[in-house]
Amino acid sequence: MDFAFFLIQLLNGLQYGLLLFLVASGLTLIFGIMGIINLAHGSFYMVGAYLAWSLSAMTGSLTAAILLAIPLTVILGMGLERLLFRHLYQRDHLYQVLLTYGLILVFEELRSMIWGDDVHGVAVPELLNASIPLTDNLSYPVYRLAISGVCLLLAAALYFLIQKTRLGMMIRAGASNRDMVQSLGIDIKLIYTLVFALGIALAAFAGMINSPLSSVFPNMGSQVLIICFVVVVIGGIGSVKGAMAASLMIGLAETFGQVLVPEVAGTIVYVLMAIVLVWRPEGLFGKG
């Protein structure tokens, strides 16, 4: 493997890992703060991708489609939290699993009814549709770099929001003691709604920006969801830092796995997870 080829795979792995982070961070936040296991998280990734595809077909621009789709997914997230998820906070995980599993079936069928079962491609925005030559016959697409850049920016913003702002302080306080926060006069219900909508919007946004690379297809959400479960297990539940470390690890492992040992590439991430479980059952950054 020469250097240019290695560099391409490295960049691809990082880009994939960063994208996983967007989905996994929402998942781990919702786990960590509300204690909810959300199997339907992958469905929001799918909804994002399909919205990006259909809106960009309507408006003729992916950027416009994304700008239109983000508020839609935020509203979807807030609505679902009010209608469904709110009733699950005090319930056993078992019922959370069932309800969100039912939700996946509903989302998949609605997708099939609204958008059909075909695979669709999405065009890369004109401005980013270029590639950087590395050697005579190898080059790297600008769009992938742009995705990595946007993901890094969002990760930094998320870190700032949670660690440095007043709202972030309330979120962290809500995670450790809901009743105490409420008696201090903070509207914890509103905070839960916001966190949930944020998580949903992050997953949907990941689906949107990745749609030109992955194209949109049925059941695209479940693939991402299960990998993100592995990310959350490895990183430690509720830890955004852990989600970042684990996402990059998985992204690189899977990308290099595909190139070097394609036959067993699908299983590498699970072997990684098994190793982490033996070594640190609470995850790399989990609190024991």
Binding site: I37, L98, Y101, G102, L103, L105, S112, I226, M273
Partner: protein
Amino acid sequence: MNFRAADYLPWLVIGLLALFPLVESTFYMQLLTKVLIMAIFAMSLDLLVGYTGLVSFGHAAYFGLAGYALALMAPQYEAVSLWWSLPAAVGICALFALVTGVLVLRTRGIYFIMVTLAFAQMLFFIFHDTKIGGGSDGIYIYVKPTMKSGEVELANLEKIEHFYWLVLALMAATFLLLRRVLGSTFGRALVGIKVNEHRMRALGFPVFRYQLASFTLSGALAGIAGYLAAVQYGFVNPEILSWHQSGAVLMIVILGGMGTLYGSVIGAFAFVLLQEILSNQAWFGAAAKHWQLALGIFIMLVALYLPQGLAGLLRQSGRKAAAETTDE
């Protein structure tokens, strides 16, 4: 209902089910066979979810593994003997459950759910991506296993009523075995662990070993169901291991009422029939194509409003009836 009736009821139900082939043939018998296979599968999961307090979302792994074990052990155009292929398939499942159990039982709660799912997906990808099990196309099982004693054929599984009776017998055996196990000290200890793990540990029970034993037994019993399912359909493909299978069986356990065993049987009846009705094109026409939408909504309603399942409803109405008779 007094205690005597409760003791005989399972035998009565099994007896009535055994007579079913005399009145009906083909379609409904095949449907009922499917119900009974799912009942075995659901009971195996109920041991974990309802009695040991471990919510596994990857139970399809053991179900599918047994199916693949049969498909890979059977010679292509010859019948394999049930006497060794069933124990072998179940043994493989038990072994896999033992190994994964050691790993997954290091975790609890949400982690446990995700890790069991992840291990099931790992198996899914192994069979999906490699050539071991024919990739995504799967493997056909052209000839059904034989049951012979010496040269005498005890049952011909190509005949659907023989197969039906075999499945029924294994379902009854699973039910009785689990009832025995759960009534023993071991079973009582499992329920104790479910209620309060720390207290059981403080009392000196080897909690991890008990949980691992339960996990292994559960995986082995799921293997029986998976083996039978592979025989019934005549092929296996990665779908048999998919997480939708794990979701469906968990749904059956909750719908029937977890922690009751017989609830799993009721749940299997209700779930398979519901699936059959919702996807019936003669009744729902074009809407039947999107039957999973109705199923999804149904699952959500059960999760929200019927946490004790159908068995819970039965108990409630039974209690109400008892209360009314004492009033009079």
